[in-house]
């Protein structure tokens, strides 16, 4: 048991989990009913459920982003792809004579997802075949994509009235919000596929050394293309959930800055931006930290002008706690305290600094 505990305290997600628990404790102090979950009109209702549902789009994008980052890449275009998919589905439903027909909705959703996938193939082609740096390659769609979404909506906020489509954002499956179920299924399936097959290892090896993996026989270009396409597909799905949740396509604001939230979640979760090892569970914890942080601001009543500073402080705390250098210092400090004579402890420390 104690070995397991030590394993956990040494793991990369230990500190993010500590912060998450800390935020929840703050919320419970500010509002004792924070963790209450009740059943209202046949579904679960409560602040934790809101956190899960509002975090679902970020988690979907975070899953794709984790894999992209593991290949030493980055995808900045996810927010714009989400906006495009929301715009496309809204335009299709608004121009359809039968927006309440489930089959119409299935078709519109299908078209939006296929379009997202195609945009991902575009990203992947730029990165894998034309060898453009990922940050530049995806920057193109990040800026142009929102323009495309604006063209589709003609700069308007398109309000939707389609019952079957609203199910995505505000419907329930056995008491759980649809968005949460979708995100959970995607997370679990992705974890199974990357961990139960060699795919995860391929991704990590491409991220650590693309050339060596190529020589070892991994088709890194096809793999990269596939991962960017998968990431964009999830972004399109997230766009549908956001659009359905607010029952309107808002080309300006749908998925705005969600790429930064997703990247932050991935990093908080312990996946290195240098590529290689990745942790999907870590990303889940990262998303929960970010979303709980947002809710904490409202519950504790932090004034809007101070919100950004508050968020920054928490993020800095997580990063510092996670950093290997701080951890090492912290470990040394603990060792120092255990040792009776301080003089001996200082010596190895000096060696380390000089080395």
């Amino acid at each position: 048991m104690s070995a397991q505990l030590r394993n956990f305290t040494g793991s990369r997600i230990f500190w993010p989990v500590v912060i998450l628990v800390g935020l929840v404790i703050v919320d419970v102090i500010a509002f004792p009913g924070f963790l209450d979950i009740t059943v209202k009109e046949g579904h679960l209702f409560g602040a934790p459920i809101d956190i899960l549902r509002n975090g679902a789009p970020t988690l979907l994008i975070g899953v794709g982003m984790t894999l992209v980052i593991a290949t030493r890449g980055i995808d900045l275009s996810v927010g714009s792809i989400a906006a495009i998919s929301g715009a496309v589905v809204s335009a299709l439903l608004l121009n359809s004579p039968t927006p309440d027909n489930p089959w119409t909705v299935v078709q519109a959703v299908g078209i939006a997802l296929i379009l997202g996938f195609i945009l991902g193939v575009w990203n992947g082609t730029l990165v894998a075949y034309l060898k453009i740096q990922p940050i530049i390659a995806t920057l193109i769609l990040m800026t142009a994509g929102r323009g495309v979404a604006m063209l589709i909506t003609e700069g308007q906020i398109l309000t939707l009235h389609s019952k079957p489509f609203e199910w995505f954002g505000s419907g329930f499956i056995v008491g759980f919000p649809v968005a949460v179920v979708i995100a959970a299924v995607v997370l679990i399936l992705t974890m199974l596929v990357v961990r139960r097959s060699a795919l995860g290892m391929f991704i990590e090896s491409v991220g650590i050394n693309p050339e060596a993996s190529r020589q070892a026989g991994i088709r890194s270009r096809g793999l990269l293309l596939g991962i960017y396409a998968f990431c964009a597909l999830l972004a399109a799905l997230a766009g549908l959930i956001i659009t359905s949740d607010q029952t309107a396509a808002d080309a300006n604001n749908t998925g705005l800055f969600i790429e930064l939230d997703a990247i932050l979640a991935v990093v908080i979760g312990g996946t290195s931006l240098m590529g290689g090892r990745f942790s999907l569970i870590g990303t889940l914890v990262g998303v929960l930290v970010i979303q709980t942080l947002v809710t904490t601001v409202y519950i504790v009543g932090i004034p809007p002008v101070a919100t950004m500073v508050f968020k920054a402080v928490v993020v800095i705390a997580v990063s510092l706690l996670q950093s290997p250098t701080t951890n090492e210092k912290f470990a040394n400090w603990r060792k120092d305290r255990r040792r009776p004579t301080p003089t001996k402890a200082i010596e190895p420390k000096r060696e380390k600094v000089s080395a």
């Binding site: 509002f31 009913g33 809101d50």
Partner: protein, 339 residues
């Protein structure tokens, strides 16, 4: 009429001289000349028809803004005045670029809705140096030097907050205590600051009104929904939501419905703007009161631009004509609303 013909002819000459910069120049000059000769066009076309106005819009962030854009474009096109239009996508640097490009093109009047209040002195001085008058619409700038612009046409946001506050005071005249959640606009934006100030000025006089929570929803539906969702959990006994725009109010409606309550009855909602979706919700009884913040200022802008162009002095501050709507008024007004 002779005078107008002369002006039109002069304008035609000027446009022919400047014709190399735009292909449409000669066409319009001919148009102006024929109009004056035939004496068919209104006087405005004679003395403003050759005027070129550059308008730098904030963006297309809301239905309100889109209605604003459409009305300005319609008004200038009706008046036969050439309008150069740009969209800054809510970024100040884009807007400054657009204004600089208008200065280089040598337009006659520059008009814009500032994205933020500060940081305009440099570019406005450039316009002043080039002798191009500037008219602000909808939002003002925070500058000590008010000679940098000719006039500011727009809503009085403090007054809007006052109107919302007055309705609340009347509505709850018999209540003992009223708990209010305020959904603020984008932090630091003039409408957010002024609408909060105007509201508190009125309700602050009576201690029974208590703002239990005030958070920003960034003027968006998603923001309004997320904030309301969280605040309803920690303040379940809230009586009223005051949202700084319709979109956040619409988001709040969704959050209230999700909590199993009835918006407009269990929790009353007051918003500002009166865009179409908001008016629909008001007519449906989900919002209780909307203070109009009219985006339809195109005709007033044309009038001011023409006056400035003709060298007349205009007021530094011109308030847009606006009203308020109750649920019954919304039902009556909805069929003929332009936006």
């Amino acid at each position: 009429m002779k005078k107008y013909a002369a002006i039109a002819a002069f304008g035609a000459a000027a446009l022919t001289l400047a014709g190399c910069s735009s292909d449409g120049g000669t066409d319009e000059a001919t148009e102006g000349a024929t109009a004056a000769a035939g004496e068919t066009e209104a006087a405005a076309a004679g003395d403003a028809g050759d005027m070129v106005v550059g308008f730098a819009q904030v963006g297309a962030e809301s239905g309100w803004r889109t209605a604003n854009t459409n009305d300005i474009q319609r008004a200038f096109s009706d008046a036969g005045i050439e309008l150069k239009f740009s969209d800054a996508q809510q970024k100040q640097e884009n807007q400054i670029k657009a204004i600089r490009s208008y200065i280089q093109q040598g337009v006659d009047i520059i008009s814009f809705s500032p994205v933020v209040e500060t940081g305009w002195d440099a570019v406005l001085n450039e316009a002043k140096a080039a002798g191009i008058p500037v008219i602000l619409t909808d939002r003002s700038v925070d500058s000590t030097d008010d000679s940098l612009y000719e006039s500011f046409l727009g809503s009085d946001f403090v007054l809007e907050g006052n109107k919302a506050g007055e309705w609340v005071v009347n509505e709850y005249a018999d209540a003992d205590s009223v708990k209010i959640i305020q959904l603020e606009g984008t932090t630091g934006a003039a409408p957010a600051i002024d609408r909060a100030e105007g509201f508190i000025d009125i309700i602050g006089a009576d201690p029974k009104f208590e703002i239990v929570a005030s958070q920003t929803g960034d003027f968006t539906r998603a923001g309004g929904k997320e904030v309301t969702e969280a605040l309803l959990k920690s303040n379940p006994d809230v009586d009223l939501i005051y949202a700084h725009n319709d979109d956040m109010g619409l988001g709040a409606i969704e959050a209230i419905e999700a909590a199993g309550l009835e918006p407009g009855v269990d929790i009353k909602i007051v918003t500002v703007d009166a865009v179409h979706d908001g008016m629909q919700a008001l007519a449906d009884g989900k919002i209780n009161f909307i203070v109009e913040c009219s985006p339809l200022l195109g005709d007033q802008l044309v009038e001011i631009a023409t006056a400035v162009y003709n060298g007349e002095t205009v007021d530094k501050r011109i308030v847009t004509e606006e009203t308020t709507f109750t649920q019954d008024e919304a039902i009556a007004a909805l069929p003929e609303r332009a936006y």
